[in-house]
């Protein structure tokens, strides 16, 4: 896959979904998590996805991240249709193009910060140095510490460094500040904004926290398995200007 393949004459589209649905069957109960989602994201966009629990935003993120397959509809990453990819192709897609940041960091406790990042740079095609990624999130002084020796915010920044070290086209963050206090959360958001600008990754941030929308280019509102509303933020604020 080539990053510079142009799909649209003016702007490059990173993600495009058409009539995306996802139905989970657990026992006798059918849960419709997504009921027809049409969505597009441009390269380099910073999107915040809002919505109550169960509105389908995590399911959506999992599908565009290549962790899950839709029940029907299409998902495209650039000119590749994710919804037709095999399990192995999805693994390679995640490996080469996607950076993930989770609410609970999911760091490997037996590896230091630097080694956690190296875990990804070992298998990536054109990675940056682990030290460079950690520097981007401001963790150079702490890079030889184990996760257990780092604060929650620091651990999340290691997770971000790990996610961006492969220079991904997309950065997917599921509640990245959900487990953090406001002060630490803002540090994490600053890191995310910084890497969005520096490496140009299309960034999708899922959150419950409405305050965060002010740092985005665009806000997507999920409700009941559909996109209920989309609006563009006219005047973006820096992370340091918001609070909750």
């Amino acid at each position: 896959m080539h990053r510079n393949k142009v799909v649209h004459p003016m702007t490059e589209i990173t993600f495009r979904t058409r009539n995306l649905t996802k139905t989970y069957i657990s026992g006798a109960v059918e849960v419709q998590a997504l009921r027809g989602v049409d969505f597009e994201a441009e390269a380099g966009e910073f999107l915040v996805i809002l919505g109550p629990s169960g509105s389908g935003k995590s399911t959506f993120l999992n599908i565009v991240g290549g962790l899950d397959q839709p029940t029907s509809g299409e998902v495209w990453f650039q000119d590749h249709e994710l919804s037709r990819m095999s399990e192995r192709e999805l693994t390679l897609y995640r490996r080469d193009h996607v950076g993930f940041v989770f609410q609970f960091y999911n760091l490997v406790p037996s590896l230091t910060a630097r080694e956690n990042v190296a875990l990804v740079t070992d298998i990536a095609r054109k990675p940056m140095q682990p030290e460079e990624a950690l520097d981007l999130v401001g963790l150079t002084p702490r890079m030889d510490h184990f996760p257990a020796q780092l604060s929650g915010g620091e651990q999340q920044r290691v997770a971000i460094a790990r996610a961006i070290a492969k220079r991904p086209e997309v950065l997917l963050c599921d509640e990245p500040t959900g487990a953090l206090d406001s002060k630490t959360g803002i540090l994490v958001l600053e890191a995310l904004l910084k890497v969005n600008i520096e490496i140009g990754a299309t960034t999708l941030v899922i959150t419950h926290n409405v305050a965060i929308q002010e740092i985005a280019h665009r806000v997507i509102q999920f409700a009941d398995g559909r996109i209920a509303a989309t609006h563009t933020i006219a005047e973006r604020k820096p992370a340091s200007a918001i609070h909750w």
Binding site: S58, N62, G65, L67, D68, R88, T91, L92, Y93, R94, R95, D96, V98, F100, F102, F104, N106, L107, V108, P109, S110, L111, T112, R114, E115, N116, A118, L119, V120, D122, I123, D144, F146, P147, A148, R162, K166, D174
Partner: protein
């Protein structure tokens, strides 16, 4: 059902593969215990009942010729309960359709009265009519080997005269449970049998009318065996007594004893290994379960369950696993025990088998299994039960990892991060890693400790038949003959070479230790039957002194240069002190050699020989055998090559059965340990592994983290397993050693290699099973939840 019990059941159902793996290791322990104790008990009981019912004698003596009237005198020796005199002589047989000569022990049945001791157990037909010269009863295995029926006939040379006998019955006797022919290594029912016939007829054949050649004595319960033996010896000396002996020196009894001793050793060595491994497994698995359920434990305590109730809950959990293991072990152990007892019953000749599976053994098996489980669980339960509920309900502090080397070393070595993960995870839980390592080592040890026996038997055969006793056959004369008889032997058709020997029954003594043996005199520099030193070099027997086999020297605590006392059991029963001139190698029996001229001087005789070892031209074998069958001066002929084949077959079959069992048991341990280790590791690192999958690691890459942990533990366990296996083999050699045979401790490299390969294969299989679970990990689920 109470809620806590319901939780227990559901936990068991949920964790069934791990619980079953542990239960199987416990089952192996219980099974080997029940098998060992059960078959030992059954055989010991069978033998005891057989001895009791058929009145097996306690003291035995052979004489040249003693008058029947002496029996009454013997009966008056204090402590004697019953006396049986009889005629017992070995003779050559000529059996239709059998090329090689066979021999039989001819034993008389009392005339006009019932047998008093060693009662025959008639299996078919009837006893011979009193006084009939042609009717005989033969031992059942001998009859079966030749497909003899009632009415079949065969010929034998008795005292130089060929006679024809007709079979009227088949029987078994407690005296010949293990019917070993002279110079043979294993009973061969085709070439050696027992023939019972009426006393007057046998007496007539051997010129022993009114006399006996063998006496058996039953003792009263409180009698002193040694005193009776002394009195008997005094009485029998003048009649050519060869020294009375107790059951310990009776061939059949001694072999059976050695076998029972081995069974007992097995039931002492194996079960503890399994139970220790099981305790480790319980500890590993339960520690993990409890750490996963830490918050539930806190909750239980918060709502009012006491520490004791929570502790008992987990103890019940492991006890259920242990009881399931004990139950599987009881069924398997009983089944194997009955099978093994049958196998022994077939090999030895018992008329019946008593399966004595003592209920106590099952209770002990269940008891030790549960104890091992509870001991294994104790620490894990104690650690968490002691926590205050508030602390228990919070998640445990994150695992602390340490770096073992300086950062610069890591960058220089350029180790993959996945390797570092595996290594640090192993070192983070040293106790678990070590117990898994020990468990895997135990299974390697069990394999090494059993597979060695093949090579060892080969070595024993090589030394005995290819280096020491290289003759094709041994001819034993009815009685000593002048050296010139050797020329007759050399003139037999096809004989290429003949070496004489002189065999002298003696008691050999050093300090308080005494043994009945035969000293064999040989000419210096023999080439067929050679005496070898401990480095397997041929020894030239010096003109004076005596050479002892290692086993005999050990028993007598004699070394080269010591004087040992030799008491002749023939002639004037002189006692002489002889210097020990050499210690020689040999695995069969207790052996002593001296120069043949010195042996004859000791006997105050000229150049006499007892028989000859021969090498013959196999092309002329049939001709030779035919001539030998007609040779009146030979009492029996041992065919070393035929013995060897029989020996190989029997040993191979026995070892094969035992090794099959050991291999299965070792695989159970290896599988159980590796599987549990892998499952625990997966449960701890499942979240990390799923995260790595999300980051784009392939299934193969994430599996390699876990599998490399398994590989490291499995590989590190190998050398330890080899060492433990060597120790186990040495222990078996020690336990199996008896005065009848010794087993050399030979461990060829292939033994270690085979043991390791089998265990590694079992580890790979259990690794692959766990790998399938990695493939099915739910990535999304793992990410949503905090551990």
């Amino acid at each position: 059902m109470r809620a806590l019990n319901r939780k227990l059941l559901r936990d068991l159902v949920r964790m069934w593969p791990q619980a079953l793996a542990i239960a199987l290791v416990m089952a192996s322990g219980a099974a080997t215990l029940i098998l060992g104790v059960g078959s030992h008990g059954s055989l010991a009981e069978t033998r005891a009942i057989y001895y009791e019912r058929n009145r097996f004698a306690d003291v035995f003596a052979d004489v040249t010729r003693a008058p029947n009237i002496l029996a009454e005198e013997i009966a008056h020796i204090p402590g004697v309960a019953a006396v049986e005199t009889r005629i017992a002589k070995i003779a050559l047989l000529d059996i239709p359709g059998m090329a090689e000569p066979a021999s039989a022990m001819f034993v008389s049945i009392p005339h006009l009265r019932e047998q008093r001791l060693n009662l025959l157990h008639l299996r078919s037909g009837r006893l011979p009519i009193a006084g009939d010269e042609r009717e005989v009863v033969v031992s059942e295995p001998f009859a079966l080997a030749h497909k003899f029926d009632i009415g079949s006939s065969f010929e034998a040379i008795l005292n130089g005269r060929k006679r024809t006998f007709r079979i009227v019955g088949t029987a078994l006797s407690p005296e010949f449970i293990y019917a070993l022919g002279p110079w043979d290594l294993m009973p061969d029912d085709r070439r050696f049998g027992i023939v019972w016939m009426s006393e007057p007829a046998l007496a007539g054949a051997f010129d022993l009318t009114g006399a006996f050649s063998s006496v058996h004595v039953k003792l009263l319960h409180d009698a002193s065996e040694s005193e009776v033996i002394d009195r008997l010896d005094q009485m029998l000396t003048r009649y050519g007594g060869l020294g009375a002996y107790g059951r310990r020196d009776q061939t059949s009894h001694a072999f059976l004893d050695a076998e029972l001793q081995q069974l007992e050793a097995m039931s002492r060595v194996l079960p503890p290994i399994f139970l220790i491994v099981a305790a480790f497994l319980v500890n590993m698995t339960l520690s993990r379960l409890i750490s996963l359920e830490r918050e539930q434990i806190g909750l239980l305590k918060a709502i009012g369950y006491g520490s004791w109730a929570v502790g008992v809950h987990y103890m019940q959990f492991v006890s259920v696993i242990a009881l399931v293991g004990a139950a599987i072990g009881a069924v398997a152990g009983t089944w194997l025990g009955v099978g093994l007892t049958r196998l022994y019953g077939d090999f030895f000749h018992f008329p019946f088998l008593v399966f004595r599976m003592d209920p106590g053994v099952y209770l002990i098996a269940a008891g030790v299994t549960v104890t091992a489980a509870v001991l294994g669980a104790l620490k894990a339960v104690r650690d968490v039960v002691g926590l205050p509920p508030a602390v228990a309900m919070t998640p445990p502090a994150p695992a602390q990892y340490r770096r073992l080397l300086l950062p610069i070393v890591y960058s220089l070595l350029r180790l993959p991060q996945t390797f570092i993960m595996a290594a640090r995870h192993l070192l983070r839980w040293p106790v678990r890693t070590l117990s898994s390592l020990l468990g895997i080592a135990a299974s390697v040890a069990i394999l090494v400790g059993s597979l060695w026996s093949f090579g060892s038997v080969d070595y024993m055969i090589d030394v005995t038949f290819h280096r020491a006793d290289r003759q094709d056959a041994t001819i034993n004369f009815v009685r000593e003959r002048p050296e010139s008889a050797l020329w007759n032997v050399m003139n037999l058709p096809g004989v290429l070479r003949a070496e004489p020997y002189r065999s002298i029954p003696v008691k050999i003594r050093n300090g308080n230790v005494e043994r009945r043996i035969a000293v064999v005199g040989k000419p210096p520099g023999t080439d067929l039957s050679r005496v070898l030193d401990r480095s397997l070099r041929p020894v030239r027997l010096p003109e004076t002194g005596i050479a002892l086999s290692v086993a005999l020297a050990d028993i007598l605590k004699a070394k080269v240069g010591d004087l040992v006392e030799v008491e002749l059991l023939e002639r004037d029963r002189r006692r002489v002190d002889l210097p020990v001139t050499a210690i020689i190698e040999g695995y069969m029996g207790l052996m002593a050699y001296m120069d043949i001229a010195e042996a004859n001087r000791l006997m105050h005789e000229g150049s006499m020989i007892s028989g000859a070892h021969i090498a013959f031209d196999s092309q002329r074998q049939d001709e030779l055998f035919q001539t030998l069958k007609e040779t009146p001066t030979a009492s029996f002929i041992a065919l070393q090559r035929v013995s060897l084949q029989k020996f190989r077959d029997t040993i191979a079959e026995n070892i094969f059965i035992m090794v099959t069992m050991y291999v299965s048991l070792a695989v159970v341990i290896a599988f159980g340990v590796v599987y549990n280790f892998a499952r625990i590791s997966l449960s701890e690192q499942g979240r990390e592994i799923a995260s790595l999958r999300v980051l784009g690691f392939t299934r193969g890459e994430v599996s390699s983290i876990l599998l490399s942990e398994l590989a490291v533990v499995t590989l590190l366990a190998q050398p330890l397993g080899w060492i433990l296996g060597y120790a186990l083999a040495a222990l078996s050699v020690w336990a199996f050693e008896s005065e009848l045979y010794r087993v050399p401790l030979i461990l060829e490299p292939y033994v270690y290699a085979t043991g390791s390969l089998l265990v590694i294969a079992a580890a790979i299989v259990s690794g692959l099973i766990v790998r399938r679970r990695i493939d099915r990990l739910d990535l999304i689920e793992v990410l949503k939840t905090r551990e």
